[in-house]
Amino acid sequence: MTTAVEVRDLRKEFVTRGGRRLRRRRVPALRGVSFTIAQGECVAILGQNGSGKSTLVRLLSTLLLAEGGTAEIFGHDVFRDPRAVRRLVNRVSVEAAFFKKMSSAENLAYAARFYGMTPRETGPRIPEILERVGFPAERRREPMENLSRGMQQKVALARALLTSPVLLLLDEPTTGLDPRSKLEVQEFIRELRRTHDATILLCTHDLVEAELLADRVGILDRGELLCLESTEALKRRFDASTLEEAFLASTGRVFEDDPEEEDDTS
């Protein structure tokens, strides 16, 4: 079994100004996270707002540098050899970001060029891939700004798939989609796993989606990965009958103070 992702003791902090007198504070976003994902596996990460899900995805996308720990993707060190990693990875984030005046076809062709694919290579694949994610391909020449948010999100998914990534990082890919579109995208992700042997890391707030798509589910709580196991094992661990109960039990805190670390470096 090939290891797709291997993360060891990954730590990330951000320095922000906040609180009274705008002191500089170090906010830990990830506190020593470790896990592995096997090739072809789909792992879902659950966690409250601000628990560090997007930070984890950004670290694996080579968009952030860690304060400590290591991350390897198919044996390539994410921080030492980012360019090798970049060829293997693509990502879909919550907000679909595009050049708004350009059409979806232009945006896709442009993005693929950064992966060395010519418009001649992507030309026939773009309508095909848009069709597959449930985007009306005949609207591919309209400027992005005219498309609804859900439609833009589908184009974002198409953009990630166009470069045939072996590791797909999905950060809330179905947030903001209508129920039918959501099902379409979920079905598509499943099909992708069946047909393309893609490895997927999925961050989501949708517990049904996590249960439906993932082989294992992890719970990230204030920068710590509490567990990463099958939904069955999770439910057993927290003595819960549904994933939602397990999630609430795992992150349930009763009047705990937030141990914000203040420091006076400023």
Binding site: R83, R86, F99, K101, M102, R113, Y115, G116
Partner: protein, 277 residues
Amino acid sequence: MRSSAHVVRAELVGLAGVVERNVYLVRRYIWWDLAFFVWTVANALTIVFIAEGVEAAGGQIDLERTITILLIGAVIWAYLGDIFEVLTETVAWERWEGTIEYTFMAPLARSMHLGGMGLFAVAYALVRAVLLFWVVAFFFDVDMPQANYTAALVVLAVASVSFVGIGMMTAVLPLISPEKGTQLGFIAQGILLVVSGVYYPVSVLPEWMQWLATISPATYALEGVRAAILEGDGLAELRDELWPLVVIGVVSVPLGLEVFRRGERHAKRTGKLKRSG
């Protein structure tokens, strides 16, 4: 393993993509571009009319020569502004659209990415500079029969390498200071031009500014273009301007890339590429 020819091809595909995307965007915002051009023309006119104003006030000047000197200064000011603006948008525009993370996580080498921006910047600025020269010259009764336009363009082209290198350094500013970085680019442009004798000879400047002028590529660009247009100098006579431009160009591009890389690393350490999500 991918062959090196394959890698080079992939990089060039990316570089061409950067140029093409900019062309698309200029086409989509063409009215804005025209409006900006009108502003540039008006700006240049206010400067070149100073020559007429001085004469009307009784000043003793060689009117045609002064007009040409001011015109060249105004055109190069605009040219440099266009190059810096395009390069600063490498980060600023993409951050505004939100695409920056997708661009920065792609496997394209940063040198190719910035090279594509530089190539487009030079082409874009050159078209506008030629139009500007032509439109503004039309308002004044100047005759430049001896002008060597080819030599002037060669000087500008060689100088552009340095301008792009410096532009890469200003492009990093929005990466470090997301809110105000673009404005810092204007500051760099202004400082570069004020020491380079944009509307006056460098010799009128205080000594320390004259020293800065010797390392500014804009100094040689202005001198070279003026010599080519006023005196009709050819490339052989312009070698005193050309060789410093080549030297500064050879130094400033790798320096610009390195500064940008450091800025990028800083942004990745501090999370300044993007916050939300």
